[in-house]
Amino acid sequence: MYCNQRPEKPGAKKEMLKKINNMARANSLWVTAYGTGCGAIELRPLGTSRFDMERFGIAMRPTPRQADVLIISGYLATKTLKRVIRVYEQIQDPKYIIALGSCTINGGMYFDSYNTLNMLDKYLPVDVYVMGCMPRPEAVIDGFSLLMQKIKDGRAQGWKHYKENLDYYRENQMKIITDWDLPDYNW
């Protein structure tokens, strides 16, 4: 390719393959069954008969190795952040994060606590925020629909941002976790 050539857009076949892949990823989202905060109680009714989530293809998996989505439900203490980083890095690409509640946006009710962080986006890449304190199951399903729409458009690239700017995230994480004993990257 010469240096004065215009950039090439991928061909039609590759575009269609990408679209099929994204449709498959959006229609079967597997959630790590890890309740990090107070919002975990709003996730349990999602599996019952009233707000059935299995009709969207969403299933709860017990291990992060088999999941796609991590739900940060509410406030995040520094102790929990150390474990959540480990869980997040064990999920295979492509992976997404949904953040529930106002504590992840700007600190919420616990903005002046010595223990909880104020802005989640500095430490982990977030794809969808769901407002509320705690959001009701219908609001969580709305958040999932937004995430599915984002995946189908190809805009949910939080995992790529994490991989490319790993130094920035690590610097922020090490600033608040004082006894850091995690490996370099948890493959």
Partner: protein, 299 residues
């Protein structure tokens, strides 16, 4: 050449049918619970998503080979059981004495998965593997006694022969000629499909998901396809042994579907046994039922 085409078609068809049956079972279980279930093609979407993941972790050589063992076991069982009577495409590879080879290969497939799970190094996987192998030793016994009773009673050790001996009308099916052995084999069918009350290997509330704990992305998609293939192979084996085989494609599909619904319906209303309870049950009840028929045949 036509042999290879028929083999490939058999495997592809069994994989599709297995995944479709899985989706139907999820939907039926959901409707029993009173909610709308997933789509019927949900398992295909899951497999495609897992296959297209962009990174995967492996833990060593045995980890790679374990899903391959399972798929190999499933394919061997599929190729030795005649799918449709009188249709030359599907008499793939049968010979005398292959009923014992089939029992051995079924065990070999599960053993491969156990070795791979052990190689992953996760303690939960090891616990699940020890439980699974302990349970397998108890139901394989009753299943083998039932199969031997049927084979000795019909005086043939080929699966083809067993199938051809049941072609004289409905009342000549083995389930009516050897009722006790069939009862023992059908009770041993439940732990084979990992259905409650005997589903202790994949116990999601106790040990997170059992042997496939460390399996991710592409390995997991192989594992799922292996499970679908193996399930279909076992169904076709049971239909041939107990329910008179299938004389055309439609009756094969209908019979496997009805037989597949039996563990689905049973497992959606039962809780789970503990390991020692299930082993105790499987050592005594189906074994004694199958032994009754074996003694009756020997005398």
């Amino acid at each position: 050449m036509s042999n290879i085409i028929s083999i490939v078609l058999t495997i592809a068809g069994a994989l599709t049918w297995g995944l479709l049956l899985g989706g139907i079972s999820r939907t039926v279980t959901a409707r029993i619970h009173g909610r709308m279930g997933p789509r019927v093609t949900q398992n295909f979407i899951d497999m495609w998503k897992l296959f297209k993941k962009k990174s995967s972790i492996h833990h060593g050589g045995m980890f790679w080979m374990a899903p391959m063992f399972r798929i190999t076991g499933a394919i061997c069982v599929l190729l030795m059981v005649p799918l449709v009577i009188g249709n030359s495409i599907t008499y793939n590879m049968s010979f005398a004495g292959d009923v014992f080879l089939v029992i051995y290969i079924m065990f070999f497939g599960c053993l491969g998965m156990a070795l791979g799970a052990g190689n992953s190094g996760h303690p939960y996987a090891v616990i699940a593997v020890s439980r699974g192998l302990a349970q397998m030793s108890s139901y394989e016994l009753s299943f083998s006694i039932a199969v031997v009773a049927i084979a000795v009673g019909l005086k043939t050790f080929r699966i083809e022969g067993i199938v051809e001996a049941q072609q004289a009308g409905i009342l000549s099916w083995n389930i009516f000629r050897f009722p006790f052995a069939s009862a023992g084999a059908l009770i041993a069918f439940l732990p084979m499909q990992m259905a409650y009350p005997f589903g202790i290997v994949l116990a999601p509330q106790e040990i997170p998901i059992g042997p496939p704990t460390e399996y991710s992305s592409r390995f997991l998609s192989f594992m799922f396809s292996g499970r679908a293939l193996f399930g279909t192979a076992k169904l076709i084996l049971f239909v041939s042994l107990l329910f008179g085989g299938a004389s055309n494609w439609l009756s094969l599909l209908v019979k496997t579907f009805l037989l597949y619904m039996y563990p689905v319906v049973v497992s959606s209303v039962f809780p789970r046994f503990r390991t020692e309870q299930s082993i105790r049950f499987l050592w005594f009840v189906p074994t004694s039922l199958a032994l009754v028929d074996l003694i009756r045949v020997m005398l």
